[in-house]
Symmetry: C2
Subunit: 205 residues, 2 copies
Amino acid sequence: MKFPSQLVEDAVDAFASLPGIGKKSALRLVLHLLQKDVAYTEQIGNSIIKLRKEIKFCEECHNISDERLCNVCADPHRESNTICVVENFKDVLAIESTNHFRGKYHVLEGVISPIDGIGPEQLNIESLVERVQRDQIEEVVMALNPTMDGDTTIYYISKKLKDTPTKITTIARGVAFGGELEYVDEVTLARSLASRLPFDQYFGK
Amino acid sequence: MKFPSQLVEDAVDAFASLPGIGKKSALRLVLHLLQKDVAYTEQIGNSIIKLRKEIKFCEECHNISDERLCNVCADPHRESNTICVVENFKDVLAIESTNHFRGKYHVLEGVISPIDGIGPEQLNIESLVERVQRDQIEEVVMALNPTMDGDTTIYYISKKLKDTPTKITTIARGVAFGGELEYVDEVTLARSLASRLPFDQYFGK
């Protein structure tokens, strides 16, 4: 499609470069913006620019933050002897929204992935090990996605921490609440069987 | 969901204010941007700001343009005695992509809609009437969407032009190519029957 304006073409290309937005959706967004006033589009544009330019990462846990420390690390009411290891800040949001974790986090910013060429040195693993040793962490909860790469990363970190007295746990793999057994893949079902729970623990006691 | 950063919250709100993007998709886009470098996000932000700020509208046909005249109006090879009236610049793109129209355009920037409070004075109808009279246009092709509002607008414009010798036509309403009769609504089917064509015209002669 040939656009009558270079400005439109640039804006369509910009939107279409985002994941999940194709050329047609991008054009729809551009038409929407053209019908709005300048102040609104400036606000959108500036919030995108400021987002990446001014974002900070927490010096402790590498979670995104507006300050030197993120609001979890800065909160004195959080338990400081438990660290939950996650892949990215979206997982922090997901776990926070359960209101069932009172410890702190450590954001790896990825997982070990030989196929994508991501090795342990590109992740925040060194700082996790330092933190565990320095703060005498009692438990490290691995909350990584249940993939091959996630499991590789869990294995790597557990080896790195094997000389510390820290307990390493992983979140349970199993059949999701509301899921149906016949549609669950065999690996999940096998793991779910292997890590079966006594009846009284099932309801969280 | 509570975000750990005001910058993230602003960016999520900005994306979520666009049509067809919810809070979850907005968050996914923000995470994507956080993983990109600053130059890329600045380019996206600036193209959105520039789009609305620097866009011009063609003085002749109100199509979007980078110059005083759009590339259709500025093209001396286009037939200047036929004007195709469309609702917005997306319709210009759609008709241009057929390569079957060699005349010029007139973009109304909307249709008459009593429900949305849009009257004829908010649309580019006055400038259309002036153009038709000044340039002694032979044919005005109405290519508006086949809705109640579109038909109202066609009727209004045809009344405004009734004292000129200009021929007013509308694009054919009918069963779409590849469509199935049993799924076509009755209004379309009735109009399609009423405007039936002789066999030799059907294949475009």
